[in-house]
């Protein structure tokens, strides 16, 4: 691999990605998805605040802010079990999982109450109270949907240019490894840029609209959340890259990438109706542990980051192997 070529190709790919139709769709999709999530989180607060206070009071800036803060506090309290439900059980619950009677009881409990063990509650409290809660909720939802957005950005990393034989002009001038890593790096640069823009826009939007959290606290949490979004993007990007090197065309690549990313949690959910252990299918991709990237325990967070990086390495290796051995 040639470092100069890799960096040149990365810079060129990042520079020209938005010019191509798919790059532009990815950028718009990312921003639309992020802002839509932020807006959907904000809308009930605004609506309820309007209903709770005297309309005359709501007209003043102070009255509006006060009402929204009260609504936010109430919502935070109510959202705790929902957030706890969204978070996976921690390994500390393994004993309960192994107990057949406890498992039966868990099955019979209402779905929302599942996994509300002490550690998960602590985690939910950390996300909702110790950190800007609305931002935490936004990041959790973004984490759920982001892998599909990544698929839209990465599916055509190689497939389209292999099909149109555009790559052939580069093949005489740079070795395959440099092209493979250069393009991957170029997409990662684009992803970081798009996620930074998204994080900034959502944070500024929340800060201006709500004003419930100090700017410093919000920016710091937004930075951490964005960083974790970048981390979770890596294995999905590498997976899509691998699929893209193997697929015969863009459409096939997009279909396979979407099926792989969506199919894993679907298979896990359907399988767990019969076998509890089927939920571990989620661990084939970061689905099984990605929400731990926002965990209060640094060890859990570190393990989640490690898991993402390990899966990235595996998918990158598979993609590189395919790309350097196939006919182009």
């Amino acid at each position: 691999m040639n470092r100069r070529h890799t960096l040149q190709i990365a810079a060129y790919a990042a520079r020209t990605s938005v010019r191509g139709g798919i790059g532009l769709v990815f950028l718009l999709l990312s921003l639309t998805f992020g802002l839509l999530v932020a807006h959907r989180m904000m809308q009930p607060i605004e609506t309820m605040a309007r209903l709770m206070v005297d309309p005359a009071l709501y007209e003043t800036e102070e009255g509006r802010r006060d009402a929204e803060l009260r609504v936010l506090e109430q919502m935070t309290e109510q959202a705790k079990p929902v957030i706890a439900w969204m978070l996976p059980s921690t390994p500390g619950n393994a004993a309960e999982e192994d107990d057949e009677a406890a498992r039966e009881t868990r099955r019979k409990r209402p779905r929302l109450a599942v996994s509300t063990d002490k550690d998960t509650e602590k985690w939910a409290t950390y996300l909702l109270e110790d950190r800007p809660g609305i931002l935490s909720a936004i990041f959790l939802i973004l984490l759920l949907g982001w892998p599909f957005v990544v698929a839209f950005g990465a599916f055509d990393l190689y497939a389209g240019d292999i099909a149109s034989r555009q790559l052939r002009y580069q093949l005489l001038r740079a070795d395959r490894s440099s092209i493979y890593f250069g393009r991957l790096l170029g997409l990662c640069i684009t992803l970081v840029a798009v996620l930074s823009l998204l994080g900034l826009v959502v944070t500024v939007y929340l800060g201006l609209k709500l004003g419930a959290y100090p700017w410093g606290e919000m920016l710091l949490w937004a930075l951490q959340g964005t960083l974790m979004m970048v981390v979770v993007s890596l294995p999905y990007t590498a997976l899509c890259g691998w699929i893209s090197t193997a697929a015969g065309g863009s459409f096939t690549s997009l279909t396979l990438a979407s099926l792989a990313i969506g199919g894993v949690p679907l298979l896990a959910s359907l399988g767990s109706l019969q076998f509890d252990s089927a939920q571990y299918v989620n661990w084939l991709l970061p689905w099984g542990f990605q929400s731990r990237l926002l965990h209060h325990d640094p060890l859990q967070q570190g393990l989640a980051i490690g898991g993402c990086l390990l899966q990235t390495a595996v998918f990158v290796w598979l993609g590189h192997r395919t790309f350097t051995r196939r006919d182009l």
Binding site: R168, Y169, R173, D327
Partner: protein, 325 residues
């Protein structure tokens, strides 16, 4: 007719026992030949003969199932080490749609190690060669099919390549542009001794341009060597006369030593089959024939020894060319 041979013994391309199959179809079957350095080498074959597959292997796009291929002494597995010394016009590769032509081509030169300014200057020069300089800041959507082909050729002529592979460079071009491309290839060979491997369906073009030729058919190498030598393998003379020959004159021609038969090829064109001992020149027969004609008051207008490339090609590939298979 043919450009003077400038070939030396050191081959620019050495292809040895290359085999490539796509599923059950064997695209190349144990193909071996050498392209002499500094030559213009024509690769001929009917559709589906394996020419583009061979070009693709030579450029490192495809991997051969077996055999070896060296370009300028470098194993094609390390093709990127050639760094601009080898360029290609691929047959059906496309360019990026939304990036200006100048940016795309300059990027290729930057990969070759040139700085941005030098790269852009070289690209502009290459585009001027093919008459596309005015389009350099536009995207490929502004170009017609023929212009795209010329852009591909400009890309192949970028920098100082020592070996250029041109896969059907003049197909889809009007006669004027096709002529311009042929002149460019000839000029590059004369000025810089650039080795050019060129495939074409236009046999007259290959005969006019190339000093060496190879014929592929159904993935197998049928013949390879200097054009003159190959064409002279057919022991025959073709002559055009100022007037039709009388029966008596035809009979006297057929009685010349080493001429077993004479056939009509047109109202004033005749072909004499030669039967000469191996290694014997046809010079004596030619001299005797010319003397006989001049004595009879017939002026020879044209004389060709051996086959035309087209006839030779058809004799080697059978009817497959005519049927387009």
């Amino acid at each position: 007719m043919n450009a003077p041979s400038t070939a030396t013994l050191a081959p620019a391309l050495r292809i040895a026992n290359v085999t490539k199959a796509f599923g059950a179809t064997k695209a190349l079957d144990d193909v071996s030949f050498e392209v002499p350095s500094g030559s213009i080498f024509g690769l001929l074959g009917p559709n589906g003969a394996g020419k583009t597959t061979l070009f693709s292997i030579a450029a490192g796009f495809l991997f051969a199932d077996s055999g070896s291929l060296h370009v300028l002494g470098t194993d094609i597995a390390h093709v990127s080490q050639l760094q601009g010394r080898l360029t290609i016009l691929p047959q059906d590769a496309s360019f990026q749609r939304n990036v200006p032509i100048l940016d795309q081509l300059a990027f290729f030169r930057q990969l070759d190690g040139k700085d941005k300014k030098t790269a852009e200057t070289e690209v502009t020069e290459a585009l001027e060669l093919v008459g596309l300089a005015e389009y350099r800041k536009r995207g490929i959507h502004a170009l017609s099919h023929g212009m795209l082909k010329r852009m591909g050729i400009a890309q192949a002529f970028l920098g100082n390549p020592e070996v250029i592979l041109l896969d059907e460079p003049t197909s889809g071009l009007d006669p004027q542009n096709a002529r311009q491309i042929r002149d460019l290839v000839r000029d590059l060979q004369k000025r810089r001794r650039v080795t050019t491997l060129i495939s074409s369906h236009n046999l007259a073009e290959i005969q006019e341009l190339c000093d060496h030729v190879a014929i592929l058919d159904k993935g197998q190498m049928k013949v390879s060597g200097p054009v003159d030598t190959i064409l002279r393998q057919a022991r025959q003379l073709e002559i055009e006369t100022s007037r039709p020959l009388t029966d008596d004159e035809r009979e006297r021609l057929a009685k010349l030593p080493g001429v077993p038969s004479i056939t009509d090829r047109g109202p004033r064109r005749y072909r004499l089959q030669l039967e000469l001992p191996e290694g014997t020149s046809a010079d004596a027969t030619v001299a005797a024939m010319l003397r006989l004609l001049l004595d009879a008051g017939v002026t020879p207008r044209a004389l060709t020894e051996g086959n035309s490339l087209e006839e030779f090609f058809l004799s080697v590939t059978g009817t497959s060319h005519a049927t387009g298979h």
